[in-house]
Symmetry: none
Subunit: 247 residues, 2 copies
DNA sequence: CAGGTAAATGCAGGTTTTTGCGTTTTTTGA
DNA sequence: TCAAAAAACGCAAAAACCTGCATTTACCTG
């Protein structure tokens, strides 16, 4: 067995069980404990696992760095699955940034063939992991806090596109429409909506009934409102008449 | 048996089993292990397989998000510091992708004010963490394996730029110049070099004296060659007359 | 077609990696 | 505090690797 192969198996074990024992690995891999220890040591040096006395632990097990993108993890996963049900083979899809969108990108089926256009480098990198997708990244000046490309160039470019679908991450949504707090982002979102035949607004229910400073669009421009709640939830009832479809 | 034919068989084997052993291949193909090794080496340089001690692995074998970005960590950090010493306040800097470039991006002083232009979303995201930098991300079709924007649009855009500096990640460099294995990337790199007053080539010494299929530029176009080695190292001696400055 | 050039391959050697095994040191838990 | 488990250290053998070189083969070119 190749060394790298063995180390990959160790990583797999750790991701599965969140921990491994040197003695266990020695048995299952048929190598001496010394070799296992050396492997664990190497992987630890490469920052892939956490070495402890007797074995090793998964890194994510006690890492605090990126909890923001797992905030409301369950909810966002439900939203992702609902949103994905609207995506069909061969579509051209415009998307903005946001952690909800990231959950969607991650949950896409790997055999899906489609074209995604996005101004978020983060989303683009998630999407490119799916080998059958074509990913177009819109460039421009990167916004420091939202981490997406903004500016006239992006808006111009979006205006040249006609997409089948757009998936909008939402920061504020109430009866009066969709709102946001950053002027540049609002411009981009307006352009996206304009360039797409069908508009999907995906958001956790927490953001419903909250309004921010700047208006993006009216609810009647939204074709689908997707939240983690069942479509007959009382929270959503009030939106029924304003939005075309609620999932 | 033809060389190409043999290499095709190797690829087939790897796709089938996710790995191959040099010794196995030597037997089944009826050639010496040296020849197998040379084949594997070539395929690895062309980015088709991953060469490891004892054989090779399929590229998709363990695509956990960020495994190889700590390879040669120490070396890359030295390179980063040397490279940074050439960056001055207010400069406009063009950069490609690559893990060495990523190490540089991470090591930048946080008070540096400068404009960075890149076609790599990964690098862009690293750079944007530095609050005083302006980051321009060049968009386009994302290349599946190199994870940078490629295509005519990117090249066109680069041609509109005049930068003070470009920092080139290197895949192959010998007396005859800088080489790479992907046609699209070569186009982008050529454009970058053309658009910059000063060209820096940063690479770990491992990649010196290795040549890939496609030529990017001659050494005389390179102003600074930066490696982790001290500038009077014998390995670098031979490059002294070809490159303007060696750090 | 002769002669020259370049590519491909195998081989000899020296070097580096990998691995297991004693031995010694450190950690852990009672 | 002590003994068992785990880790670290040093060593040696085997496997894999690299480098340079010689041989063969294919490919030009006049």
């Amino acid at each position: 067995m190749l060394k790298k192969e063995r180390q990959a198996l160790i990583i797999k074990q750790i991701n599965l069980h969140n921990k491994v024992l040197s003695s266990d690995l020695s048995l299952t891999l048929n190598v001496s404990e010394d070799t296992v220890r050396r492997d664990l040591h190497e992987l630890a040096q490469e920052n892939k696992i956490i070495k402890v006395h007797g074995g090793a632990l998964s890194k994510s097990y006690n890492v605090t760095s990126q909890q923001s993108d797992t905030y409301a993890y369950e909810e966002k996963n439900i939203i992702a699955l609902k949103t994905i049900s609207l995506i069909k083979e061969g579509m051209t899809i415009l998307t903005s940034g946001g952690t909800t969108m990231r959950a969607i990108a991650r949950a896409l089926p790997s055999n899906l063939k489609a074209t995604f256009i996005t101004m978020s480098p983060l989303i683009a990198l998630e999407l490119i992991e799916h080998p059958n997708l074509e990913v177009i990244l819109l460039g421009g000046k990167l916004s420091n806090d939202s981490k997406i490309s903004v500016g006239g160039e992006v808006v111009n470019r979006i205006n040249e596109i006609k997409a089948d679908l757009c998936i909008l991450g939402i920061n504020g949504l109430d009866f009066d429409g969709i709102t946001d707090s950053d002027w540049e982002i609002v411009q981009v979102k307006k352009a996206i909506i304009n360039a797409s035949r069908v508009v999907i607004a995906s958001t956790i229910s927490e953001k419903l009934n909250s309004a921010l400073r700047l208006k993006v669009c009216n609810l009647k421009e939204v074709d689908y409102l997707i939240t983690e709640l069942p479509s007959d939830s009382p929270t959503l009832l009030a939106f029924k008449e304003k939005v075309n479809h609620i999932l």
